[in-house]
């Protein structure tokens, strides 16, 4: 009712509206200006910042892994190469919905290409990738598996066989302890490598040449700029345009040329077949390692393709320890093989002359002691001179030598041949062995009573027993120094590096080490003559070297695993196989102009002459008689 009383003032109402509209228009203008200012701020003042964010959004850098360098023997035989490995890969979005993916996986189990237990892990892997990514679901298909998939291929969409480059060792386990292997990059590896250079690479060198020369073999990764959309999917076009994107090609790794001679390596591995042991052969003129074998071996291809936990445990827990490189890591008592070196020391320090004889009754006692140091020959060698003592391996002669030299002079002289210290070979994992001294014992033991060096301990070291330990590599190196009459070179496996994709080989010079001096030519002659007598009729290895067209200088040895008591007799038959003596043989040939020094070590091989020397002969034959048919060299 009240409304009726109010009067409509048309002109007044129009005025109100006009005023209000004009005010509203001003507010509209002010707010539009505020938006425009904001746009100016974003597009002009902050343009660079947002342009960079936009670029980071659209371009992804995809690494291109380099191809790993090859490894060749000294004659060009390929020891490690890269081959396409075939694997089964699945693209989820091509297969269809998840139910279809599950059905396809189940079908793969049915036809025996996948294990039912693997399915869970495969599903998780698939789900952690984008739907458009090609995900490997089975690695390293063999021919039979590829054929089986081919038969059923029509049943699958979005699943196919793809080839990827993988490391391959064409000769299998051949020279594996020299080559090492490649395996998946571990957490520890990540700490020492440049992650960007390994983006896209899945394998890295472990141990051996593969490990030591990782930097040379790996090469330099390249990259490819990829246009991606918000889902991360690579796309070619950005709206109506194809943008220009950069690609940097990778640089392949360098090829390595080894000092290894596949023929000699083959001889070494054939010699060790079925045994646990190691052989190292060195060219005394350069330090080149011509053969380096340790048995049992293992197939490095397994590591490149990825071992299952079970397979790895089997290797790791094998009683014969195939993963251990006995040539570098097996530190054993060198036994009688060190006698020539002590004989040389005796001449050098003037405690013996070549012609002076010593009476060997079959045992030795220190003055004021009743402890018997037995000779290996119970009846004794009778009167014996230096050459004869080497040839017959007379223990009593060398007990006398050791007593006269004393442990510190023995330590000093043997160190010059590399005993007690790593040789510095160019692959990792080497053990230093042990060349004891009075000072060493003081340093090593805590209790005062244990720190005293006893005279009796010197006597044991005199026949390469007691505290003394050496690796097969050290023995080969020392033998090479003996063969070269004191000239010493650091042992090495890699002699040249070939630039990727060319024939340009950079040779690496031999690395000379400190020469064994203060030994006269006559003194060298005496020892080498003694070693020649070892392989001559009547020597300890006389029967094993009959009929060689070259003259071999050598020394047999055996090292006790099991210590027998003072009044016990050593009875081979009563000892279990693993308690038997280790067999050793060091040698070089031709004796007058040595080209190859070989150390052979056979675990529980009992006799250096009968077990180890024939293996050395195989190596000499392979190296010095190249015309002999080498039917198996370089073939897997």
């Amino acid at each position: 009712m009240l409304d009726r009383v109010r009067i409509k003032d048309h002109w007044g109402e129009q005025r109100i509206f006009t005023t209000r509209s004009i005010v509203a228009g001003a507010i509209v203008a002010a707010l539009l200006l505020a938006v425009a200012s904001r746009l100016f701020y974003l597009q002009v003042l902050r343009h660079d910042y947002y342009a960079e964010l936009s670029q980071g959004n659209r371009v992804r850098i995809d690494p291109i892994p380099p191809s790993r360098g090859l490894i060749l023997d000294r004659n060009g035989v390929v020891l490690a190469e890269n081959l396409p490995a075939f694997q089964l890969e699945l693209v989820r979005e091509q297969v269809g919905p998840q139910a279809q993916v599950d059905a396809s996986l189940a079908r793969l189990v049915d036809i025996g290409l996948l294990d039912a237990e693997e399915i869970g892990a495969i599903r998780r892997t698939l789900l952690s990738h984008h739907v458009y990514e090609s995900v490997p679901i089975k690695l390293q298909l063999n021919d039979e598996e590829m054929a089986r998939f081919a038969v059923h291929r029509h049943e699958f969409t979005g699943i196919d066989i793809r080839a990827r480059l993988s490391r391959h060792y064409p000769l299998g386990a051949f020279a594996v302890h020299a080559l090492g292997y490649v395996a998946a990059i571990s957490e520890q590896d990540l700490k020492r490598i440049d992650a960007t250079d390994y983006a896209g690479t899945t394998l890295i060198g472990k141990l051996g040449v593969e490990g030591a020369y990782e930097e040379e073999l790996h090469g330099t990764a390249g990259y490819r700029e990829v246009l991606v959309n918000a889902a991360g999917r690579p796309v070619l076009r950005q709206g109506a345009f194809t943008p220009k994107l950069e690609t940097q090609q990778p640089v392949a790794g360098a090829d390595l040329i080894l000092s290894i001679d596949a023929r000699v390596q083959r001889a070494a591995e054939e010699g060790l077949a079925g045994l646990r042991g190691a052989v190292v052969a060195i060219d005394p003129r350069s330090g080149d390692v011509i053969a380096l074998a340790s048995t049992p071996e293992f197939d490095p291809n397994g590591f490149a393709r990825g071992l299952s936990n079970k397979q790895y445990d089997e290797l790791q827990n094998d009683a014969d320890k195939p993963l251990i490189n006995r040539a570098l890591r097996g530190a054993y008592p060198p036994g009688s093989t060190v006698k020539p070196f002590y004989a040389l020391a005796a001449l050098r320090y003037g405690v013996m002359t070549p012609e002076r004889t010593i009476f060997c009754p079959g045992y030795f006692t220190l003055p004021g002691s009743t402890h018997l140091f037995r000779d290996w020959k119970k009846t004794g060698h009778g009167l014996i001179s230096m050459r004869g003592a080497i040839a017959q391996s007379c223990d009593v002669y060398f007990y006398n030598v050791a007593e006269r030299l004393g442990i510190d002079r023995m330590h000093e002289f043997m160190s010059a041949f590399g005993f007690g210290d790593a040789t510095g070979i160019d692959i990792p994992g080497e053990k230093p062995g042990l060349m004891p001294s009075a000072e060493w014992k003081r340093r090593t033991y805590k209790r005062a009573a244990d720190q005293v060096w006893f005279a009796g301990e010197t006597i044991s070291v005199g026949i390469g027993q007691g505290y003394m330990l050496a690796t097969p590599l050290q023995l080969a190196h020392a033998t090479a120094v003996m063969a070269a009459r004191g000239r010493s070179f650091k042992p090495r496996l890699v002699t040249g590096v070939r630039a990727p994709g060319s024939n340009l080989v950079t040779r690496r010079a031999a690395v000379p080490e400190k020469t064994v001096s203060e030994v006269t030519a006559d003194e060298w002659n005496v020892i080498i003559e003694g070693m020649e007598e070892v392989t001559a009729p009547g020597g300890t290895a006389g029967r094993e070297m009959i009929g060689t067209p070259y003259k071999v200088a050598g020394k047999t040895g055996s090292a006790q695993v099991f210590t027998i008591g003072q009044n016990e007799k050593y009875n081979e038959k009563e000892l279990s196989e693993r308690m038997l003596d280790h067999a050793l043989f060091v040698s070089f040939a031709p004796a007058e102009d040595p080209r190859l020094a070989v150390a052979v070590f056979v675990e529980n091989g009992r006799h250096g002459a009968s077990t180890a020397a024939p293996i050395a002969r195989k190596l000499f034959d392979a190296y010095l008689l190249p015309d002999r048919p080498a039917s198996q060299v370089g073939t897997p």
Binding site: D3, R6, I7, K8, D9, G12, E13, Q14, I16, F17, T18, R20, S21, A24, G25, V28, A29, L31, L32, A34, V35, A36, R38, L39, F40, L42, Q43, V44, R46, H47, Y49, Y50, A51, L53, S54, Q55, N57, R58, L227, V228, N229, A230, A231, V235, R237, Q238, G239, A240, F241, P243
Partner: protein, 379 residues
């Protein structure tokens, strides 16, 4: 005197065939021209923003055809008398349809905004953007201005009912636009300044209450607006990617169909709510300023036409259409450029989407009808 004011333009119109057509259809020349320009720009941008999806462009053109038909039909045939009579019916039917949508949505256990009529689907809430201001204007048409307290309360109720029904859908953006269109009528009707001042703390209290009432995701949006970096992959993603698109466009833009943010789908909702960022990325600052200038012209021209209204209903309805259009522009461009929170409001006449295109052009049809059907004083 007023007759003189009209005569020059009338002379001009008689000069061209186009002018004669416009006049015959009851359309305003300058406004129609600029609207056509904006819609054309929209077609081009939708083609680029949709990733060159011709089906979407086709659909967009069909929406435009429907909307233009509505504009012309309303401008020609919906005379002010009809509009006045229709206003309360449109309002009532609109509210009922929203209730229907709310109830079916509740049963369907999800956000429900659409009404499916088989052939066409539309959002009844969109009708309310026009029906609410028209209802308010209808309510005020015979009452003296400025409105007294009782009138204001009545209008507040007329606004609050549909707004609340849309908020619970939940569709904050549309609710905001409905409320704004009604409030504009109250302001233009002469709402006293002292009441505005008093209502500010009341609105604050209402906002506080609303904070506890709205859905979690809407609260999230406001928080993200305040600090988008706190959740770059979640709710903050829209704002960050939108600003990257605009900022990386620079002054001249990356070029038509070459905006990496839009073309590679880093920009979400690129054809709809965030299409203004596509314009910024591909045409740069200049492109966006041009679009804002065109909008500015439309608002100014519409306000001018509203001012020429001869009665309260015409003036208030026209003013609400003009300023409602501005609210659309400001909320969307402010959201896309990061000065307002993300609310689902499309860029008027450019974003892909049929309902808003039809309501907006229908609104301009009403404005033009009110304008062209004026009685000449003295005739």
């Amino acid at each position: 005197m007023i007759y003189d004011e009209f005569s020059p333009s009338r002379t001009r119109r008689t000069l061209t065939a186009g002018g004669r057509t416009l006049r015959a259809l009851g359309l305003d020349g300058p406004l129609t021209g600029v609207l056509a320009l904006i819609v054309s720009i929209g077609v081009l941008v939708v083609y680029s923003a949709s990733g060159q999806n011709l089906r979407m462009v086709e659909h967009h053109l069909m929406n435009i055809a429907v909307a233009v038909t509505a504009l012309i039909a309303i401008a020609k045939f919906a005379t002010p008398q009809y509009l006045r009579i229709l206003s309360p019916f449109a309002y009532l039917i609109g509210v009922l349809l929203i209730i229907v949508v709310d109830v079916t949505g509740h049963i369907g256990k999800g956000a429900q905004r659409w009404l499916d009529l088989g052939l066409i689907r539309f959002q009844p809430s969109e009708i309310m953007k026009l029906a609410v201001p028209m209802m308010c204007a209808w309510y005020m048409q015979e009452r003296p201005l400025p409105p007294n307290f009782r009138d204001l309360s009545m209008m507040a109720l007329l606004i609050a009912i549909p707004t609340a029904l849309v908020v619970i859908q939940p569709d904050l953006g549309t609710a905001l636009l409905i409320a704004a269109s009604g409030l504009i009528v109250m302001l233009l009707a002469g709402l006293a300044v002292r009441i505005m001042l008093i209502s500010i703390p009341l609105l604050g209290a209402a906002a506080w209450a609303a904070w506890h009432f709205v859905h979690d995701y809407q609260r999230q949006r406001v928080l993200m607006f305040l600090n988008p970096q706190s959740d770059p992959l979640g709710a903050g993603y829209h704002i960050i990617q939108s600003q990257i698109a605009i900022g990386s466009g620079g002054v001249f833009g990356k070029g038509y169909m070459n905006g990496s943010q839009a073309q590679l789908e880093f920009l979400p909702e690129r054809s709809t709510d965030f299409i203004f960022a596509v314009i910024g990325e591909e045409f740069g600052l200049l492109g966006q300023l041009l679009v804002l200038a065109l909008y500015g012209f439309v608002i100014a021209r519409a306000l001018y036409m509203a001012m020429q209204g001869q009665d309260t209903f015409a003036r208030l309805t026209g003013g609400a259409i003009a300023l409602g259009f501005f609210v659309y522009v400001f909320v969307n461009s402010g959201m896309v450029s990061g000065i307002l929170p993300v609310v689902g409001v499309p860029l008027p006449l450019i974003s892909y989407g049929g309902t808003s295109m039809v309501t907006l052009l229908a609104g301009f049809g009403i404005l033009m009808s009110l304008h062209s059907h004026r009685k000449l004083i003295g005739s």
